[in-house]
């Protein structure tokens, strides 16, 4: 059997099983072997000294653009970018064309994913067509393989519909992922504040997010159901989530590397690669997000990987599409939090693997014996400049192009199959 590997001399970090040790990890027939298992002669050696060996990273919020916008990204190219970034699994949002609101689309995505370089877990739509009027059929979505529901990209305007979604999704054990945005307040194109005023761009206030975050918390509290808040960007939202969790509300939340790395200053020069929704916020918001990652208020780092071509980005700032690619920069940007002393390596693995797996009930997030060998080998010291010619995604819309980054996945393995390998000889 080809999928026998001995990953040698690495720092094995597995928070779910309370492990942080220096040593070897054996993979037998695509599964993680128990410690002390004799190493067969067929096992090929992966030298991992100086590296971290962690459960495969899971990105719980990506846009793979297939079906419908394959010129931006498709499932094969998107999962290849995921593997290059150290991800063994991605959770794809339903705002494709057509919207993933039924078993047929979910099944099609999973079928295409068999050619991919990472596991793909589709999220179905909350409402039929994500039009915000009636519930999608969660039973058949679940049966086809959906792991949650969301109208991501659009807020659910109708509070009654959201309430019913929480209740009904609960019957099927599906997480409801909220794109929290009050559309009447968010008519702008960047964060409301001094920079927007200076650039003459219309602002989106922090309250546009916080109001909807509070609505979701109130509905979760009212119904006893759980809710997950996507791409948290503001200090106000963080405070609401922290207080809700303290009183036992079942709310989880994710943020993205751009919210803890950049501020609205990045828009300077009308940089459309710094345009996304929610928008990059103030330095104060960024600080609050960083604290919330450290203190456990936020459960996951996702990327909101949103590929767009030059057709959507090389236009006037007001007209440019929202979103940036993130799969290939998430790990180095998150490792900066460790270097800054804000979180430790164990917490990083929780945020990027164990946490997302727990929220969505996915396999993975563990290096326990018998688990599928989804493994990421990270060299925390390797530095590289992120340039356009090395982007694996089909799209190039990143504000981090030209950045000198530190730390990267040198090897990614899904079920014992190597999906990415950039070890230096």
């Amino acid at each position: 059997m080809a999928d026998n590997w001995l990953i040698k001399n690495g720092r094995i970090i597995d928070p779910k099983n309370g492990i942080d040790r220096q040593g070897d990890l054996l993979v037998l027939e695509g599964r993680i072997a128990a410690e002390q298992t004799p190493v067969p002669a067929s096992a090929r050696v992966i030298e991992a000294s100086g590296c971290w060996v962690v459960p495969g990273l899971i990105d719980m919020h990506v846009h793979l653009r297939e079906p419908g916008e394959e010129y931006k990204e498709d499932i094969v190219s998107g999962t290849r970018a995921a593997a290059a970034g150290g991800f063994t699994a991605v959770v794809c949002m339903p705002n494709t064309r057509p919207v993933n609101d039924c078993a047929a689309v979910t099944a099609m995505i999973l079928e295409r994913a068999r050619q991919g370089s990472a596991r793909v877990y589709p999220v179905g739509a909350i409402s039929s067509g994500s039009r915000g009027r009636k519930l999608a059929e969660y039973g058949e979505l679940k049966e086809a393989g959906a792991v949650g529901v969301s109208d991501d990209g659009l807020p659910v305007r109708d509070s009654q519909l959201m309430r019913r979604a929480l209740e009904y999704a609960g019957d099927f054990g599906l997480a409801v992922i909220s794109h929290s945005e009050d559309p009447s307040l968010s008519t702008g194109v960047m964060n409301e504040g001094e920079v927007a005023t200076r650039l003459g761009l219309k602002g989106i206030p922090a309250a546009a997010e916080a109001i909807m975050v509070y609505r979701e918390i109130a509905l979760a509290e009212q119904t006893g159901q759980r809710v997950h808040i996507a791409h948290v960007s503001t200090a106000m939202s963080v405070e609401l989530i922290r207080a809700a969790r303290a009183r036992g509300v079942r709310v989880s939340a994710e943020t993205t590397p751009h919210y803890f790395t950049l501020t609205d200053e990045a828009v300077e020069g009308y940089n459309t690669n710094a345009k996304m929704n929610p928008p990059l916020r103030s330095a104060r918001d960024r600080e609050a997000i960083r604290e919330a990652l450290a203190d456990g208020t936020l459960d996951a780092i996702a990327t909101d990987h949103a590929p767009h071509s030059s057709l959507e980005k090389e236009v006037e700032f007001d007209l440019a599409a929202n979103g940036i690619i993130g799969l290939e920069t998430s790990l180095p940007l998150s490792l900066a939090l460790v270097r800054d002393g804000l979180i430790d390596a164990r917490r990083l693995v929780e945020l990027m693997s164990t946490g997302p797996a727990a929220i969505l009930g996915l396999p993975g997030g563990s290096l326990g014996a018998g688990e599928a060998a989804d493994i990421t080998v990270i060299d925390p010291d390797q530095t590289f400049t992120y340039t356009e010619d090395q982007v694996v995604s089909k799209s190039r819309n990143s504000p981090f192009l030209g950045w000198r980054l530190q730390g990267r996945a040198v090897l990614t393995m899904v079920g014992g199959r190597v999906t990415h390998d950039c070890r230096q000889a």
Binding site: T187, E194, A196, T197, G200, Y270, V315, E316, F317
Partner: protein, 310 residues
């Protein structure tokens, strides 16, 4: 002007890029050009053989005319493209339009666009010098320069003055450029308007945000009012023009709070009886028509200076 000074800008995108020295230099050149417009034959050969394109994606009468008059008095060849006749309505992107125009080798493109930052984007795709004739709610540098020129003409200086700007600060590129311009020259800018029309961060731009009309106008050297719009994209900014006129309109009584020799200014077109009362607009302190005259001189100076750098 300092000896050895060299105007360093290829494009005029906003006041934000101009230093006090640059502004002083532009005004001095503009003052020297003003006399040309008073001659019986209002034409000099300075820009003969240069091609200037007015690329206007927003309706404009006075700014476009002013640039065109300025270019013709300098003997340049001018061409006007407005959004209604351009390819914009056929779905062509701004970049494609700009590249096509560039292929005809213009020397200067003067652009007005409803989206902030459009002129900045053009500079990345075309060879010509770009002059921003107003972009979205961002900047309108030639308007601020003609305002500065008008004040300097009447006051003899631009430092130590109190400038009051009243009205829709949020949507006014004129206010934005003037806040930068007047503060950079050493004057203080006091702004006032309904809270719905005051954007955050004005203090960071250098303005003082006042809590009453009286506070803004008292002892001011200049009282500048801005054109008001009642509603924008369903955003309920004001209940009515009637109430705006009553609470925020600049009347003779309001002007009386300023210095006796204060100048009354407005970038035009004026909503008479709403933001500015007719007796004030036409009164002895009004320099609104001087602003228009100086606009031509300032734009001649800008054309001359950017051509000197190509």
């Amino acid at each position: 002007m300092a000896t050895g000074y060299f105007f360093p800008h290829r494009h005029i995108l906003g006041m934000d890029h101009l230093s006090a020295e640059d502004i002083g230099h532009i005004l001095t050149i503009a003052e020297s050009f003003k006399e040309i417009s008073a001659r019986p034959i209002k034409k000099v050969p300075t820009l003969r053989g240069n091609t200037i394109i007015n690329l206007f994606f927003e309706p404009s009468t006075r700014t476009r005319l002013s640039f065109e008059v300025a270019a013709k008095r300098m003997s340049a060849d001018t061409f006007n493209i407005s959004a209604s006749t351009s390819s914009a309505t056929k779905g062509e992107t701004l970049i494609d339009t700009a590249r096509n125009i560039t292929a005809m080798r213009p020397d200067i493109i003067i652009i007005r666009h409803s989206h902030s930052g459009a002129p900045h984007m053009l500079t990345r795709y075309v060879d010509a010098a770009i002059i921003n004739a107003g972009d979205g709610t961002h900047e309108h540098p030639s308007q601020a320069l003609l305002d500065l020129m008008t004040v300097r003409e009447h006051r003899g200086r631009l430092d130590g003055l109190k400038i009051a700007i009243i009205g829709d600060i949020m949507h006014s590129r004129v206010a934005h450029s003037n806040i930068i311009g007047f503060t950079r020259m050493g004057s203080s800018v006091h702004v006032f308007g309904p809270a719905t029309l005051l954007p955050p961060g004005l203090e960071r731009l250098g303005a003082t945000v006042c809590s009453s009309l009286g506070e803004a106008v008292r002892d001011a050297d200049v009282v500048m009012t801005l054109r008001i719009q009642k509603e924008r994209q369903n955003d309920p900014l004001l209940p009515s023009f009637r109430e705006y006129a009553r609470e925020y309109g600049v009347t003779r009584d309001v002007v009386a709070l300023a210095r006796p020799d204060a100048l009354v200014m407005h970038p035009g077109p004026v909503n008479r009886g709403i933001e500015l009362m007719p007796d004030v607009a036409d009164g002895p302190q009004s320099v609104i028509l001087d602003q228009v005259t100086n606009g031509v001189a300032v734009r001649m100076a800008l054309l001359y200076l950017v051509m000197g750098n190509s």
